[in-house]
């Protein structure tokens, strides 16, 4: 079993075109999963997290169908087989 991380089209230049990443490292939280991604693709997580490791203001991350902002944020626990989706928030002007 593994965790899937779905990447928006805008960030696929930083994943060599891959839209769904598979994390096989042991993960307890969303932060662990993103750290595993960062180890392979640091340019991708630069766009998702700030230098302080916080989720950027206009980026949403979902675990299944639920935004982690309404769960425990990056410390939300993940189970084997979970799907994490990175989505640009509705914002702009």
């Amino acid at each position: 079993m593994a965790i899937s991380v779905i990447v928006p089209n805008a960030l696929t230049p930083y994943t060599r075109g891959v839209g769904t990443l598979v994390v096989t490292e042991p993960c307890t939280t969303v932060a662990d999963a993103l750290a595993a991604v960062a180890a392979r693709l640091p340019a991708l997580t630069d766009r998702v997290l700030t230098e302080q490791g916080e989720l950027r203001r206009h980026v949403n991350v979902f675990l299944g169908d639920e935004s982690i902002r309404f769960l425990d944020g990056l410390q939300t626990t993940v189970d084997e087989g979970a799907t994490i989706t990175i989505v640009p928030a509705v914002s702009g002007g």
Binding site: L11, P13, A43, D46, R47, T50, E51, V59, S91, G92
Partner: protein, 374 residues
């Protein structure tokens, strides 16, 4: 990462006008007559471009852009072929150290360093800090003397955020340079960036109980001329000033302007007595006074100012020009250019005597820089 665009390259002697907008960057180019302009863009569509620069030192033809995605953050992108391709670092190169507790919000200024240090480039960012590149913009390090400045906890953000937006250098003294922060005021280093001291004596802070504090002024722009770097001109949040001693003291030079509020200020490329500004009505009504779009110019170092209106709308023109929206090329006679928040771009090939509208419906213009291709 390289993104191909559809640009064709300007030739040596051509004039570039680089325009950063809220929705991307545009590159205007012309031959040296500056009568007919080509436009290429938008580059980075949808991203806010608060800073842009052209660097011809060291044989380069490098354009540097500070682009901000509302979603994915800010980064500096580079092009050595006038925008045909852009190289951006995979990692976001302007980064605060984790120990600082700070995260980059915006790149407000990119300034090539001294001519005799062709690989040095500076950038000013929000939250206020100065970064230095020693490889022509590829990688960046924060200037510790500002990052760890004892005043930092007391600096307050202005309307645009706590931004370091102005960088002035001294070609005669490598250890000395100045920066301006809104709202912290003007700071100078005399030891190559190790220590920074406020130099705001005489500059008013109308929004504070103490109108003349040591620091805390909302300086909007500072310029100097390489032939006389010790003399600075300053456009304040209310107030026009000149210093003849690298900021030790400032004198009011708002002589004959319709308002001393404004953002933009530009030094003439060849004459250290000539400066351009665009007065704005007030901080509460940030448009040009009387609906007349006027650039003001002094040719006597601020003793007097004269309006330049030839070809500019003088009726119902409620425009604003932001702090980096006014610039000059290095031609003789100099070309002067400015862009408005209403998306209009104007240029003058005769030092401001007459103006031509280069574009009338760009996205809101944040910054304009000009250069002659060498």
């Amino acid at each position: 990462m390289t993104t191909p665009t559809r640009s064709s390259g300007p030739a040596a002697g051509d004039v570039l006008v680089l325009v950063g907008t809220m929705k991307g960057a545009f590159i205007f180019s012309s031959d040296k007559s500056r009568r007919k302009w080509r436009v290429d863009g938008p580059h980075f569509p949808g991203e806010a471009v608060y800073s842009i620069a052209y660097d011809s030192r060291g044989g380069r033809t490098r354009t540097l852009v500070g682009a901000h995605s509302n979603h994915w953050g800010s980064t500096i992108r580079l092009s050595d072929d006038f925008g045909r391709s852009w190289t951006g670092p995979e990692r976001q190169a302007v980064r605060f150290p984790e120990s600082s507790g700070l995260s980059l919000a915006q790149v407000w200024q990119i300034t090539p360093g001294r001519a005799d240090e062709p690989d040095v480039v500076w950038c000013g960012v929000e939250p206020a800090c100065l970064f230095e590149s020693r490889d022509a913009g590829e990688s960046w390090e924060p200037v510790q003397g500002l990052l760890e400045h004892e005043h930092r906890p007391k600096w307050m953000p202005g309307g645009g955020g706590l931004c370091l937006h102005t960088i002035v250098t001294d070609p005669k003294n490598k250890q000395r340079m100045g920066i301006a922060i809104s709202t912290a005021g003007f700071y100078r280093t005399d030891d190559g960036g190790k220590s920074w001291h406020p130099r705001n004596n005489g500059v008013r802070a109308v929004f504070l109980p103490n109108k003349y504090p040591e620091f805390g002024q909302c300086v909007h722009k500072v310029v100097n001329h390489p032939s006389r770097p010790e003399r600075l001109f300053l456009q304040n949040h209310w107030g026009l000033y000149r210093s003849d001693d690298w900021g030790e003291s400032w004198q009011d030079i708002a002589n004959g302007v319709p308002s001393d509020f404004g953002f933009a200020m530009q030094m003439h490329p060849h004459d250290p007595d000539t400066v351009y500004i665009v007065p704005i009505q007030s901080d509460e009504f940030r448009v040009v006074p009387e609906g007349k779009l006027r650039v003001y110019r002094t040719t006597d170092a601020g003793k007097s100012w004269q309006p330049l209106t030839g070809g500019l709308p003088q009726h119902q023109a409620f425009e604003n020009v932001l702090r980096d929206g006014l610039t000059a090329d290095s031609s003789d006679p100099a070309g002067i250019y400015f862009g408005t928040r209403g998306g209009k771009l104007f240029g003058s090939a005769d030092e401001g005597e007459s103006w031509q509208e280069l574009a009338d419906a760009l996205p809101p213009i944040c910054c304009v820089k000009a250069a002659v291709v060498s």
